[in-house]
Amino acid sequence: MNRLVSRHGWVMGLVVMLLVLAALAKLLQADFGFSGLESLARAALPFAFATAGMAIVIIAGGIDLSIAAVMAVVSVTAAVLMTGTNETEAVLVVVFVLVLGLAMGALNGALIVVTRVPDIVVTLAMLFVWQGVALLILNAPGGAAASWLRSLIVGGTTLPGVSPGLTGWLPKAIVFLIVCVAVIWIPIRRSKLGLMLYSIGSDRVAAFRSGVPVGWVRIAAYALAGLFAALGGLAVTMSTGIGEPIPGPYLLASVAAVVLGGVVLGGGRGSILGPILAVFVLRLVRLDLTLLAVDPNVTVIIEGIIMVVVVMIGAVLMTRTARQ
């Protein structure tokens, strides 16, 4: 029991924060309801995917500074390829860009392994490379997205045979997020690959000595991050309907959410659930501040303070429990 709390305490804390912030939103805006939740979910989607990808590489002991640039490449590729294609061809495009993201991530990882240059340097260099690639594909915002793709994250969930009253309150975007993350991550987490990801983050030398093929696992970690980045890029295109070659503010936001979500920088510890919850917490903070009509420049200060105070409290609590 005690161990359960110490292991999942962080996630529980985030859930509590999430509920408090949501209640605050409701309090500020009596008619805050489904549409608010729905818009929040849609806005959180690219952040959530970027954060999931970032969480995996950080758990594996690395960091991926190129994640937002990979998202931009995927976003513009999808938008360009989908211009003038019909709905079924768009399916192929989606498959293609997901594979593309996976491949870009794998290339990041392979370069790290082969060159032996630290992760942060390689992905910093690749940040410029992928930015350049995105600009070469599309030199100004444009392109299009298939309408079925866009409707995938709009509105409430409807299941055939189930009354909409039952599932309608749940935004499709959340279902989309859960399905994507679950389908990709749960089998991996359960498999030996999942263990290996944690092990190379925890102690790379010990992992190598325990027989873990460290190089391949690192490549796999970055490839997974690439896949999630591709989903994130796709989510951007899905919500805006176009591709943007300039990377969005997803890099630092995802690092912040990963840390706020209880993943330890340096690797080996944490889950992917915490960071995704943290994304929603951060989005809700912004929503509450907008509803409060706080001066936008003051909003930045408050966001910063909240971030700092939350991690401070968390860190203090952590060291407390560690000492006992």
Binding site: S199, S202, A207, G211
Partner: protein
């Protein structure tokens, strides 16, 4: 053991390896047959660990041949080594700190039953597979590492200083199990600096000196002298634990360190002892009797929950190691990984305490530093070939650095927690001599050791701790291994509370 014409399971010849300027191995050879326990011996830095790492694919050799079951093999990684039946227990723990015990097993495809069987067999009864590795004490980790290796049913088991961090009760278990493995047909390469163990279970010994194999001896009574001569390149007495003239417990009115009813709320219940000026007080305890907490509390590394500590007659309370150091008390912890800045140089490591206090943050007096560090290095005879980064030193030399630090600081009370862990014969002797010499110059030493023989070699008295309490106080003369062991198991007469 019909070792007549069978092909060796593992046969390595002329292996060489250099790290930049340091030549770790120049011409190392080793052969081991089924069912044989071969001791790999050598002084600190002779290249034993490097050899093991090469044989198991953790390092790539510069040259040489390795044959497994008679066939030329290129072991590219520890994973490949495992597949060819070579399973090591390295000198440093190789379990993943943030995973649970169970996940560590899954990582190596080892099923829980045989593993748990071996863990029990090795003397740890209450292991929880759900416990995270980094919460476990070093000794337990060593046992788990070994159990994991045995559970994978290896052809060749390579044990690098397996027993160095173990208390004596666990050592016995390990030795028994290792011998048993050999009798069941496993080939074993056994590295240790302890002759008693080697004499107990090994069939043969291969001796390394400066990275080259210099001899191969059968273990027969009296072989120690010859082995030491080969290891050190000079004749030297093999008797490590020479009896010594003990000094009467000094009868000063005010002891240097007076501890009364000390407890930390965890395993340390109630310990009282006096450490006098110029005295070496041994601490004897089985694994997990609260000795770690005692040393932590006395060094300011952990707060005491109850009891008092007096230094030179005035009561003190420590909130930080700096408080203890200011009163001249320095700790050499059991795990050198906690004591060393591995990526920094020997010199910087030794000098750290000099800058600890805020008013010492200014310019370093390089001359003064040289005058402090130089003699300490000399005194500990640290191998300075790889001095640029401490992590490149051999295990034994790293240990020496941790002690040299306090010698350079001129500390008055040394808390040594198993300082001879992983140290070769010659250096052990140096350490005993050093401890005596320091004591004769007035330094007080609290000396925990897992090797009971050391008590008579180095200490004036010994306190025995059981279940977090002092159960016996034994003078050096009476501190035979048998006596100590009886007391350590809580079988001694209930002794006085005050040492």
């Amino acid at each position: 053991m019909t070792a007549d014409v069978q092909t060796p399971v593992l046969d390595a010849a002329s292996v060489s390896k250099h790290f930049g300027a340091v030549i770790a191995l120049r011409d190392a050879s080793l052969r081991v047959n089924r069912g044989e326990v071969v001791a790999l011996m050598g002084a600190n830095g002779a290249g034993k660990s490097t050899f093991v790492k090469i044989l198991t694919g953790a390092l790539k050799p510069d040259g040489g041949h390795v044959r497994i079951h008679g066939r030329e093999a290129h072991v590219g990684s520890p994973a490949e080594a495992r597949r060819s039946g070579l399973v090591p227990v390295y000198q440093e723990p190789s379990l993943i700190p943030d995973l649970t015990v169970g996940d560590n097993l899954r990582l190596c495809n080892i099923s829980a039953e045989p593993f748990q069987h071996w863990v029990r067999e090795l003397g740890i009864i209450d292991l929880d597979l759900g416990e995270t590795i980094k919460n476990l004490p070093l000794a337990t980790l060593r046992i788990l590492d070994l159990a994991r290796a045995i559970a994978s049913k290896p052809d060749v088991l390579l044990l690098d200083e397996m027993t160095a961090a173990l208390p004596s009760n666990l050592v016995e278990r390990v030795l028994k199990v290792v011998r048993q493995q050999a009798d069941n047909g496993c080939a074993i390469i056994y590295i240790s600096h302890r002759f008693a163990e080697i004499a107990g279970i090994c069939d043969r010994t291969t001796i390394l000196r400066d990275g080259a194999t210099v001899g191969d001896l059968a273990i027969v009574p009296g072989v120690e002298e010859r082995a030491v001569e080969l290891m050190l390149g000079a004749a030297i007495s093999a008797a490590v634990f020479e009896a010594r003239e003990t000094r009467k417990a000094a009868e000063d009115k005010i002891p240097r360190l007076r501890v009364r009813n000390l407890g930390t709320g965890a395993r340390l219940e109630d310990v009282s002892l006096d450490l006098h000026k110029g005295e070496v007080l041994g601490v004897v305890a089985l694994e997990g009797q609260g000795q770690d907490e005692l040393f932590d509390a006395l060094s300011g590394n952990r707060r005491a929950a109850k009891g008092t500590i007096e230094v030179d007659g005035s009561q003190v309370s420590f909130h930080h190691p700096a408080d203890a150091i200011a009163l001249g008390i320095g700790l050499v912890p059991g795990d050198r990984a906690h004591a060393l800045a591995m990526s920094r140089s020997v010199r910087e490591n030794i000098a750290i305490p000099q800058f600890a206090r805020f008013r010492k943050w200014g310019p370093v007096a390089m001359g003064d530093e040289t005058r402090r560090v130089g003699p300490a290095v000399e005194r500990m005879q640290i191998d300075m070939r790889a001095q640029g980064e401490v992590r490149r030193l051999s295990g034994g030399n790293q240990q020496k650095v941790t002690i040299a630090r306090w010698i350079a600081s001129g500390i008055e009370t040394l808390l040594l927690f198993d300082p001879s862990r992983g140290i070769d014969v010659r250096t052990k002797r140096q350490i005993y001599d050093l401890v005596r010499e320091l004591a004769s110059q007035g330094t007080s030493v609290l000396y925990y050791t897992s090797e009971l023989g050391e008590i008579q070699a180095a200490c004036d008295r010994a306190v025995v701790i059981f279940n977090g309490r002092v159960v016996d106080i034994i003078s050096a003369a009476e501190a035979t291994e048998a006596n100590l062991l009886r007391a350590a198991h809580g079988l001694g007469e209930k002794a006085a509370v005050h040492a």
